[in-house]
Amino acid sequence: MNLAINLLGVTKVYPGVTALDNIDLQVRKGSVHGFIGPNGAGKSTTMKIIAGLIPATSGLVEVDGKEVSKNAAFVSTKIGLLPEQPPLYNGMKVGDYLKFCQEINWNPAEAQIDPAELLESILTRCKLQDVKNRLIGNLSKGFKQRVAMAQALVYGADIIILDEPTVGLDPNAIADVRLLIEELKKEHTILLSSHQLHEVAKICDEITIIDQGKILRTGPLLTIQSEFSAFKTYEAILSNLGGELKKELFAKDYIQGMDILEHPDGVFLRIRIQGDQDYRSSLTELLASKGNLLEFKERKMELEEAFREIVRG
């Protein structure tokens, strides 16, 4: 497999805290890899380790087949990083800022394109031509995010690491950033962390789910989704739920879990089923006979729910 990023047995220990615990992560060249997990799961730490900002306590970290710790200059040219907090100089003009970012990262030995030409194409691609002479500090948050993304592209990096690029943006700006990522997909390998799971589902080919420093799932998006589509959820509204019915439901071995919530019409039941067998008829029969069933429907698990299910264990 042609890997852009390869992490094997990576552990990062801060005094008293294990931020990453023996994680393996492989990102294929040309793929868009989603990195999802709750706050404090270790996403940003992993991204910083890949970009060479902080070293791993142990384990192997490779970018394009080269070890990060021994090839800092190579990695800095190969990787374009957009950290969670965009690194912008508010007092600089957009064009000057991008030129500066290009100059401090440019490797003339590896460059196959004229830097000025690349800068112009990035300005066009990120739709920044109209604001290139404006101060960054005076731009809207959406534009600032685009400038921050442009700085990761402006020196011709092959691998783009985006740490929550849509956080804090309005829906229009989020759509713009998504379009830009779609555009970048064609030429770059992208590692993207996000809380917007539906965004990840739209953009990514592969995902990795991380929690408390451990990788819970990694692989093609469709595989993980299909793994969890095996978990069906039935939702029912009953006018009452007696103890006998409750006991009977809990006794069913195919019911993996059940949430019982209050509802204006009585009781709301969320029943999680394991396996792909259809239990609708038997369940509706049972609920109708013993609980006065008012409503019943089946819900397929979306990525968001799959994520919650995985994190919940």
Binding site: A51, G52, L53, I54, P55, A73, S76, T77, I79, L81, P83, Q85, P86, P87, L88, Y89, N90, G91, M92, F100, C101, E103, I104, N105, W106, N107, Q151
Partner: protein, 248 residues
């Protein structure tokens, strides 16, 4: 090697532009000019009474001494933004993930702040010109005094950059830089307070004013340069350790 210096050039050019686009440099320059002009005027008037002293002794020596002392306060203010603001705005990550090494980043910051300070010192060139109009011609003393002031400032800036690398807070950075510099100045007083001659000489050697005086008196020794450049190298290394500590 060319790439090393090009990296320093690119970053220091940006830093210098930032410095001169901020009003702080102009405010500090104005204050510095007013203060130095007032002192120069007073020393010049007083020199009329001191008939047994030359213009060098009565005007130039105290003026350069004061200039050096004023920069003890100005240098930490000029350098306070260097790393503290980069940390605060999260732009330090941009520099640390670039092709620039820690030493390139530190040297570029020192160079930009030194050139900004040199601009302020340049404003005092009017003093020797005024003296020249009254027949003053000891230009070698003027040149060595300016060299001494600039080297002292370079030392102060290396301390200021180190202080700035320790914190995100600009005020704390300036105060820290000032405290370190004042502490180093006090070495010479400690030297005077001890009865042990060897210890006294060691303390004196460690204080910047001792070496600065050699420049102003026109008696420059090679150890003055060794001290100044070792001092700058030591604080540059400490700044490198401070930046590297982010990875610990």
């Amino acid at each position: 090697m060319v790439r090393f210096f090009k990296g320093i050039y690119v970053l220091s050019k940006k830093e210098l532009k930032d410095n001169f686009l901020s009003p702080m440099v102009y405010v500090l320059s104005a204050l510095f000019c007013v203060l130095m002009g007032w002192l120069f005027f007073n020393y010049l008037i007083a020199s009329k009474e001191l008939t047994d002293q030359t213009l060098t002794q009565a005007v130039l020596l105290p003026i350069f001494g004061n200039m050096n002392f004023i920069f003890l306060f100005l240098a930490p203010i000029l350098t306070m933004r260097s790393f503290a603001e980069e940390k605060k705005l999260h732009t330090l990550e941009l520099l640390l993930t670039s092709r620039l090494s820690h030493f390139q980043i530190i040297l570029a910051k020192i160079l930009a702040n030194f050139l900004t300070s040199a601009f302020m010192v340049l404003l005092t060139i009017i003093f020797p010109i005024v003296l020249a109009m009254s027949g003053y011609s000891h230009w070698s003393i003027v040149i060595s005094s300016y060299a001494g002031v600039l080297l002292s400032i370079l030392c102060y800036i290396s301390v200021g950059c180190f202080a700035s690398s320790l914190t995100e807070n600009l005020v704390v950075s300036a105060l820290l830089g000032f405290c370190i510099l004042l502490g180093l100045m006090l070495f010479s007083l400690t030297g005077n307070a001890t009865d042990n001659v060897l210890l006294g000489q060691i303390f004196q050697y460690l204080a910047i004013p001792f070496h600065f005086e050699s420049f102003v008196r026109g008696g420059i020794r090679s150890f003055n340069f060794v001290y100044m450049f070792s001092f700058i190298g030591f604080f540059t290394y400490l700044t490198h350790l401070s930046l590297d500590s982010r990875r610990w």
